[in-house]
Each structure stands twice: as structure tokens, then as C-alpha cells.
């Protein structure tokens, strides 16, 4: 029997009863998660029960073989209920994809994927570092051979400026220079089991929004097998997988947040209309303007998904490392992060003080605060500066 490459389509995955239960649970605890700035453990447990943490793992290793469009759909549905749960799911799937697409023939990583699906392991990432100025493509910390280990064991220590859900994950993917003598851009990605990794939080995560992602900084110290280093250089993993997956899945988190705010504004306008049947309330006009923004937002994401799916495998794969693709995927992130805030802000205008309230069915404060994180996750200014340089050589539309 041949193993199906892809288990089911997105509707079937997200329509399953167990995933629907996870969505309900995420919605139920979203407010408390935000207020207390705590990890959404109920929702993540429900995702585990639904097998959702293994969706991105190929069928041959016991996962669902979900593609980026399936994962985007699930991320969107989660983020509409609880942005933190949506973001945690998205980040986890980004780490899974980085392994799946770059493990080459590594037996260790194939075995790991089987465990990840079977045990529903949650993976966090330590790609940030204090001292590199927010540039994921540079590292200070380096991988070293463990003295006296005949090259089969390695060790590292890294001061990561933020690790989302670092204290709640099972495993950690860390970027490092490939050796103590390597250039800051010559990086690799290492997977360590958090049970064998020392991680010490530095600072606390008490933020304006995305409070439930629990993302303080950590000092990470680990010793592991040399086989736990992904065989591909991080530069390739980043351009072919981690960056496009991040920007596309994050954008679906933000679309989810914006849709939640839009839905609340729409309910508010309907409520007003019911009070004076026959008259269209003035706020309805604002809502119709907002629906134009939402249509543009969705179209932006659809186009990005379509392009990535076309290029992800086979001959198209090298196109993902071109200047043109880098410009386009950066544009997606910048545009999506800006429009998410604008939608939430407009929803606030529509709902007025009921929107400004921190509770109630028309409250959009949480959504607005959460949406503001979008422009900061890999700062838009950094991406604009990158694109400014890339556009010196890339001729758009040619």
C-alpha cells in the first residue's frame, strides 16, 4: 500500500470533531490567557488530543502530511478565537516544516519526526540573540565539539532575546554559528530536547499584546549529538522554508485577529440596525469600507500561498532563494502586519466605547493590542531596509 502524500484537505482536517473542540476551548480561555499573560495550556492540550501538532509531519512518519495551505487554514481558525494559540500553533508548524524540508537523509531527524507525531511534541525556536540587532541571519553563539568526544558530541550556550513558549515546549530549534571560527552568517540549526537542555529565563514577558505566547528571553545551554544538527546550512533553510512559512503563517494569525475584530464590528452594526429597522445605521458605511480592506487582506494571503505552493518543491525551489522572491515575501509580511492593525482600529471606531471596553461582545481591545505585535516581529523597518537594498538590483515585474 502506498502512503498518501497528503492525508486530507484543509476542510476535513479543520472540520474534525476534535479540532472543533480545540477551537471552542481556545475561544473559551482566550480572555483569561490574555489577562493573566499565561500559556494557553487547555487549548494546546486540545490540539495535542486532536493530533494537530503532528499535522505538518509527512504521512510516512505518522503525521498528516498537511501542506502550508492546510496549516494556514487551521492557524486562521485558531487565531480568530485566541491569537496566542494561533501563533503557538503557527510557530510550531514552522519548526516542523524546517525539519521536514531540510533533513536530507538524516536518520536521526526521520526518527525524531516519528516521535514528534506520536508524542505530539511541541517545538519552540531560539533564532533570536542578544547582540545581533534583531538579525536572524547572524549568530554570535557557536556550536563547539565537546572536548574529548571524538567529534560525535557538540555543545553550545546562547543568550536568546526571546523564545516563544520556551518554558512550555518539549524541544528547541536553535540557530548557531557552525563552529567557533565561523563567520556570523555561517549558521546551522540544532534540535535539542528541552529535558536535556538548561534554559534559564532572563526578564519577563509582560507585554501589550500576544501575552499568552509567553516569550521572554532565555539563556540556553545544551550538549547533544552531532546528528542533531540539521544537515542543510541555515541560509538555505531560512530562504526556502523558515522565512516564507513564518511570513505566511503569521499573516494568517493576523488575518484571524482582524477577522475577529471585523466580526465584532459587524455584530455591533447589526445590533444598531435592529434598534431602528428600515434605517441603515451610519456605522454600516464604515463596516462596508472595512470589508473592502478585509477582501484585500485575504487576497494578499491567497496570492502568497499560491505562489509558495507552486515553488515549494521541485524546480521552483531554487526560486525561493532569489532576490525577487525575498522582496515579495517581505512585502507580504509588511502589508499584512500593517493592515491587521488598521482593521482592528477601524473596528474600534465602529464599536465606540463598547469596543474600547476590556470586556463584552464588542470589545476589540485585545485584538488591537495583539495586532500591534505584527509590525514588531522581525521589525517592518528592517524588512523595508532589506527590500530597499534588494530593489537596487531586482526589477519588479520583469
Amino acid at each position: 500500500m502506498t502512503v498518501p502524500q497528503r492525508w486530507v484537505d484543509v476542510q476535513e482536517l479543520t472540520a474534525s470533531e476534535s479540532f472543533q473542540r480545540a477551537l471552542d476551548i481556545a475561544a473559551q480561555h482566550a480572555e483569561d490567557v490574555d489577562r493573566r499573560g499565561r500559556f494557553p495550556s487547555e487549548a494546546v492540550d486540545a490540539l495535542r488530543a486532536a493530533g494537530a501538532l503532528g499535522w505538518g509531519v509527512p504521512c510516512e512518519y505518522g503525521g498528516a502530511g498537511a501542506e502550508i495551505d492546510d496549516l494556514s487554514g487551521a492557524t486562521f481558525e485558531l487565531a480568530r478565537r485566541c491569537s496566542a494559540t494561533g501563533m503557538i500553533f503557527a510557530m510550531h508548524q514552522i519548526q516542523i516544516a524546517s525539519i521536514v524540508r531540510h533533513l536530507a537523509n538524516s536518520l536521526w531527524f526521520k526518527d525524531y519526526l516519528r516521535r514528534a507525531a506520536r508524542e505530539q511534541r511541541l517545538i519552540a525556536s531560539a533564532t533570536s540573540e542578544a547582540g545581533v540587532g534583531g538579525d536572524m541571519r547572524k549568530s554570535i553563539a557557536a556550536l563547539e565539539t565537546l572536548p574529548g568526544s571524538s567529534n560525535d558530541r557538540v555543545q553550545f550556550e546562547k543568550k536568546a532575546s526571546t523564545i516563544s513558549y520556551g518554558a512550555y515546549a518539549d524541544d528547541l530549534l536553535t540557530t548557531l554559528r557552525c563552529s567557533p571560527g565561523a563567520d556570523s552568517g555561517d549558521q546551522v540549526l540544532v534540535l535539542t530536547n528541552l529535558a536535556d537542555t538548561q534554559i534559564k529565563p532572563i526578564g519577563e514577558w509582560d507585554t501589550l499584546g500576544m501575552r499568552g505566547t509567553c516569550s521572554p528571553g532565555f539563556v540556553v545551554q545544551a550538549t547533544c549529538l552531532a546528528e542533531q544538527v540539521l544537515p542543510a546550512p541555515f541560509a538555505v533553510i531560512a530562504s526556502e522554508t523558515m522565512v516564507p512559512f513564518s511570513h505566511i503563517l503569521w499573516a494568517h494569525v493576523w488575518l484571524g485577529i482582524a477577522s475577529d475584530a471585523f466580526g465584532r464590528a459587524q455584530n455591533f452594526v447589526r445590533g444598531q440596525a435592529r434598534q431602528s429597522p428600515g434605517n441603515t445605521p451610519p456605522s454600516a458605511l464604515r463596516l462596508s469600507e472595512l470589508s473592502v480592506r478585509m477582501a484585500g487582506f485575504r487576497a494578499l494571503l491567497q496570492a502568497a500561498l499560491k505562489e509558495y505552493l507552486k515553488l515549494a518543491d521541485g524546480d521552483g525551489r531554487t526560486t525561493l532563494s532569489t532576490v525577487g522572491y525575498a522582496v515579495r515575501i517581505n512585502n507580504l509580511k509588511i502589508a499584512a502586519s500593517e493592515v491587521a492593525v488598521e482593521v482592528c482600529q477601524s473596528a474600534l471606531r465602529i464599536c465606540g466605547f463598547l469596543g474600547y471596553s476590556n470586556s463584552g461582545p464588542y470589545s476589540v481591545g485585545r485584538q488591537l493590542r495583539d495586532a500591534h505585535s505584527a509590525a514588531l516581529m522581525i521589525a517592518n523597518d528592517r524588512l523595508l531596509a532589506n527590500n530597499a537594498a534588494l530593489l537596487l538590483v531586482y526589477r519588479e515585474g520583469k
Binding site: S184, G185, T318, S321, T322, N386, A389, L392, V393, R395
Partner: protein, 81 residues
Amino acid sequence: MKDKIRKIVADHARLGVEFERVEHSTNLYRAGMTSFSSVALMIALENEFDLEFPDGMLSRNVFESIDSIANAIERLQRVQP
């Protein structure tokens, strides 16, 4: 041609290693070239050889070494004489 490319790489790639140690096959990215400095290198190469790299060629594997750059320029010179 490779000597010309070598000089442009020396001037623009901003490598983190001593340039004498860079061979024609040395991976420039691993030697410290960033995407920023690779853009400066691309512009300088377009200027020097009076050509335009099409989008499909503006990728990491094309600019990763002096050899691969020379290869790309030779291919372009055949179509954009």
C-alpha cells in the same frame, strides 16, 4: 575575467576573512558576505561587465563563489552580447 571578478569581490563583498585566503571556489556567503553586501557586488558586476542579471539569476547559488559568478556572466554574455 576571474581576476576582474576577484577584484570586484574584494572591493564589495565585505568578507569577514583575509582576502588572500579566498579561492575561486570559496563560498563567499560562508566567508561573511551578507545579502546586503551581495547586492553591492551585483551592482558593481553589472556595471563592470555592462549587463543585467535577470531575476532568475539573482539568487544565492549564482553569487556564492567567484567560479559561479564567472559562469553566470559567461552565460549572460552569450545572450546579451
